[in-house]
């Protein structure tokens, strides 16, 4: 990175070398020590990264929600034992071991936060967005949840109660948003397209047919 024109002769000497940031140095140091000591394997680390970059994300959760909308028996099962219901669709594992589904109704809206760090249901939502990890969200979701919703452009009808769920290392919540009107008879695939990530955290609503938030 340090190309330099060296001196009066006008010819270029190759002084280019590499640089690693302090953070990158710390991570490389840690990784090389852990690999040497046999605690981690590079291939396994690559596989984990690939999984979370490409295979695990909110599309999984959207399928869960769409099935709950379309299939009352599945919805009942989801409310009784979310972990098992979600696993029946093939989603499970890390940070989804103890799932609880909380259902939005005209009377009650649910909002999920992790005030301690950023516990989040990875198998159904992937890794959390930056705002979920911010101090502002972690504190304001508890102190002023309606203000947070307003920030996201969501206004609840008068009389709708707002419940805030604080995730922990043990329990992860998935919000089951309300099914938008005008979607009777839709396929699960079509319904899943209406389910946004934010609607499963509670900072948003499912999209209405036609694209706008319901």
């Amino acid at each position: 990175m340090h190309a330099s024109d060296d001196g009066p002769h006008g010819h270029h000497h190759e002084h280019d070398h590499s640089e690693l940031s302090d953070t990158a140095l710390r991570v490389r140091a840690l990784e090389s020590v852990l690999v040497e000591k046999g605690y981690v394997e590079p291939d396994a680390l690559d596989a984990i990264i690939e999984t979370y970059e490409t295979r695990i994300g909110p599309r999984n959760g959207a399928r869960v929600v769409a099935k709950a909308w379309a299939d009352p028996a599945f919805r009942d099962g989801l409310r009784r034992d979310a972990t098992a219901a979600i696993a029946s669709l093939g989603f499970g594992g890390r940070q989804g071991e103890h799932m609880v589904a909380v259902e939005n109704t005209p009377e009650e809206h649910n909002l999920v936060v992790c005030t301690l760090c950023s516990c989040y249901p990875w198998p159904v939502l992937g890794l959390p967005p930056v705002w979920y990890k911010s101090a502002a969200y972690r504190s304001r979701a508890v102190i002023d949840p309606r203000g947070v919703l307003a920030d996201f452009g969501v206004t609840l009808p008068e009389g709708t109660r707002l419940r805030v769920w604080d995730s922990t290392a043990e329990i992860r919540y998935l919000v089951l948003p309300m099914r938008p009107a005008g979607t009777e008879g839709w396929s699960e695939e079509a319904l899943a397209d209406l389910v946004t990530r934010d609607s499963m955290i509670g900072t948003g609503l499912a999209r209405a047919p036609g694209g706008v938030a319901a």
Partner: protein
């Protein structure tokens, strides 16, 4: 929906939420590595997830106490610090060993032409098994 600027202006006095429509899962390769190491170490039973959440929470609180605005974009910095702390706590690698290894990687980087893969072996002082 109200205009976004009116919405944010109204909320300016309280901490604004850092919003961004689409963001990559990991912004830099080191974030992905730190994440994957933690998942792998948890998987092999070095610590429980509760221990991890506690340790990460401590790192976040400490950073906030030192003035980090904690907008969510420094999350993996806290994560990395928590991981170093955990690894030391569990007796896997202490701060001295890690500092030594960081210096080795720094020398290796400086000895590697730009564009070439940086290998620990490129460290002029490298000896296998050291």
């Amino acid at each position: 929906m109200k205009p976004l600027n009116a919405m944010t202006a109204a909320l300016e006095p309280v901490a604004p939420l850092p919003r961004c429509a689409e963001e990559p899962v990991f912004r830099e390769p080191w974030e992905a590595s730190a994440f994957a190491m933690t998942v792998a170490l948890h998987q092999r039973g070095l610590f429980t997830w509760s221990e991890w959440a506690e340790c990460l929470g401590e790192a976040i609180r400490a950073a906030q106490a030192e003035g980090d605005p904690d907008l969510g974009d420094t999350y993996y910095r806290h994560w990395l610090l928590a991981l170093e702390t955990m690894v030391a706590r569990k007796g896997v690698a202490g701060a001295a060993l890690l500092a030594q290894r960081q210096a080795a990687w720094d020398r290796a980087a400086h000895a590697t032409p730009h564009g070439q893969p940086i290998l620990l072996e490129n460290d002029p002082l490298f000896t296998r098994g050291a």
